[in-house]
């Protein structure tokens, strides 16, 4: 598969603050890649480096095989991006704004501008000055701005922020259809986990500038299993399991405990409990949602 985005050993320091610490990411053609992390994790900095706004302190970002800092014109020629909240010339109309930005990517036909406007349902307001737009309309126009020059790679920073539930749904459907029908590669950052779960084929989770996990969504969710264990003396059982390095207790109730364990180690958990003289009456595997997976990663990092 053709590699579209290659981030290797990326570092960024702002004074003494390290925003990104040795990040590696690979996005292949056709991926819808979700980039997850809490606020301040380094998502925005990474995206700014990816589109050539910020100079990396170390490492490289290559788009279509071109270094984005040293060869920015060629690296960015097939990229459409929306970085944070969209900025527009408020004294120009939406159509004029789209025309202006598309000119910088080499220019497009009139129809491409109309199509981009139609895709985000703004064709009726296209001649109004942008200063009359609501927050949600600006966000939609921001996506149109990223789409207008018919890019092969779409980089979207929190594309649904500020939209109402209906708008969010439309944007998600738009991203899915662009990826499915036109083979666009999409890189999107989000802190909305269900959004990423619905839209993305692959995800990477970053926390404090470091990658915590990356891969296809389904693989990640199955890499760690959640086991609900009905057991006598749950508090003592939990204490006994804390000693195992492949399992982690995340919930203790009156008659059961919930344990996260590496895939395929349920039997070992069971054996440890039985050897410790605990009565195990049931072990039920639970599939994690991406949200639970994400919190388990971030929590385990915070403990260290």
């Amino acid at each position: 598969m053709e590699v579209i985005v290659e981030v290797s050993g990326l570092k960024k320091r702002f004074g003494s603050v390290c925003a990104v610490e040795g990040l590696d990411l690979t996005v292949e053609r056709g991926d819808v890649f979700g980039f997850l992390g809490p606020n301040g994790a380094g998502k925005s900095t990474t995206i700014r480096i990816m589109v050539g706004l910020v100079r990396p302190s170390g490492g490289t970002v290559r788009l279509f095989g071109r270094d984005v800092w040293h060869d920015r014109v060629r690296a960015l020629s097939k990229v459409g991006a929306l970085v944070e909240s969209p900025g527009f010339y408020k004294y120009l109309s939406a159509r004029q704004n789209l025309w202006l930005f598309s000119e910088l990517s080499g220019g497009v036909k009139r129809e491409a501008i109309e199509l981009a406007l139609a895709r985000v349902s703004l064709e009726g307001r296209a001649d109004d000055k942008v200063k009359t737009y609501s927050h949600g309309m600006l966000q939609r126009l921001g996506i149109a701005q990223a789409l207008v020059s018919e890019p092969d790679l779409l980089i979207l920073d929190e594309p649904t922020s500020g939209l109402d539930p209906q708008g969010m749904k439309e944007v998600r459907e738009l991203i899915l259809s662009l990826a499915r029908d036109q083979g666009l590669t999409v890189f999107l950052s989000s802190h909305l986990l269900h959004e990423v779960e619905q839209v993305c084929t692959k995800v990477a989770v970053i926390h404090r500038g470091k990658k915590m996990a990356a891969g296809p969504v389904s693989d990640l969710l199955h890499s760690r299993k959640r086991l609900r264990i009905s057991v006598g003396r749950p508090a003592e059982a939990a204490a006994a399991l804390e000693r195992l390095d492949f399992a982690q207790v995340c919930e203790v109730t009156a008659d059961s405990i919930v344990v996260e364990a590496d895939d395929g180690r349920a039997a070992e958990v069971n054996r440890a409990l039985v050897m410790g003289d605990f009565d195990v009456s049931a072990i039920v595997p639970e599939t994690m949602s991406l949200e639970e997976f994400y919190f388990s990663l971030v929590r385990s990092e915070d403990l260290h």
Binding site: G52, R72, V79, P86, G87
Partner: protein
């Protein structure tokens, strides 16, 4: 690069702010002509010391000369900086700079295009002042020989210099050309600050502060040794073009120093802009 310049001109012509200076200067030309037509002519006292004037020296050429003398050391630089200081920082504040720079455009190209359009703007604004002053003056006061008055300037010459209409026009054209360069030297400081700061008020204010500070230092005798290196000292050298003979050495030296300021601040801005992290 061509595309960048075209788009910058497009943006500039659609912004209300761009017309502020033109409007204000046109209004000033109107007020000055009204004042001259109705009131006691300036410099009349100089004449009364031994001249008998036949007719009036108030005409289009005189208005163009008189107005330049009035606005050169403040209003013209302010109106230029209001637009030029907004060129990059204004886009940073509006969030459009990140959208521009995540497009496949060279940072250097964008910077040079923006500066080129700033230069065009400064020239247009300065020449507009001359044309508006001359036109309004010619319509309401008539045309004719150009009378200019030199009081103790750094050029050391004093007196009244009178030129026939044709020569007066040539000298006015030269003076407005010089004025473009002089205003551009302040505007380039505003442009430099605009590429460093993320709000246009800081860039415009910073350039004006520098301008005023240099003016103050230039007025204090204690700092005499550095006066020849202040751009403000040289902005007034356009007056030399109305002397006979023209002190070319002084005028060229002033142009050289003003150009040096332009080159230095342009180069420094370019070097910073090419490498800076865009975080706005």
């Amino acid at each position: 690069m061509k595309t960048c310049i075209r788009l910058e001109i497009f943006k500039l012509t659609r912004k209300l702010r761009s017309y502020l200076g033109f409007g204000a200067l046109a209004a000033m030309a109107g007020l000055v002509v009204l004042g001259l037509a109705r009131g006691r002519p300036p410099f009349e006292a100089s004449f009364e010391q031994g001249f008998v004037t036949v007719g009036s020296y108030l005409n289009g050429g005189f208005v163009a000369w008189f107005l330049l003398r009035m606005v050169m050391m403040f209003f013209l630089p302010v109106f230029a900086c209001v637009v030029v200081g907004d060129m990059i920082s204004g886009e940073a504040a509006d969030g459009t700079l990140r959208a521009l720079l995540s497009r496949p455009v060279g940072r250097g190209s964008l910077f040079v295009a923006k500066f080129a359009v700033s230069v065009l703007y400064v020239i247009a604004l300065t020449l507009f002042l001359g044309v508006a002053a001359y036109a309004v003056g010619a319509i309401f006061l008539g045309r004719g020989a150009l009378a200019t008055f030199q009081e103790g300037t750094m050029l050391g010459a004093q007196g009244i210099y009178i030129y026939n209409e044709g020569e007066g026009l040539v000298r006015l054209l030269g003076a407005y050309g010089f004025a473009s360069v002089a205003v551009l030297s302040v505007a380039t400081i505003a442009f430099f600050l605009s590429s460093v700061l993320t709000n246009s008020l800081g860039a415009i204010g910073g350039a004006m502060m520098t301008f005023i500070l240099f003016g103050v230092v230039g007025a204090i005798d204690y700092f005499k040794p550095i006066h020849p290196y202040l751009f403000t000292t040289h902005m007034d050298s356009w007056r030399g073009l109305f002397l006979t003979p023209v002190p070319w050495g002084q005028v060229v030296k002033s142009l050289g120093l003003l150009s040096a300021y332009i080159v230095v601040f342009f180069a420094a801005g370019l070097a910073i802009f090419r490498r800076k992290d865009v975080l706005s």
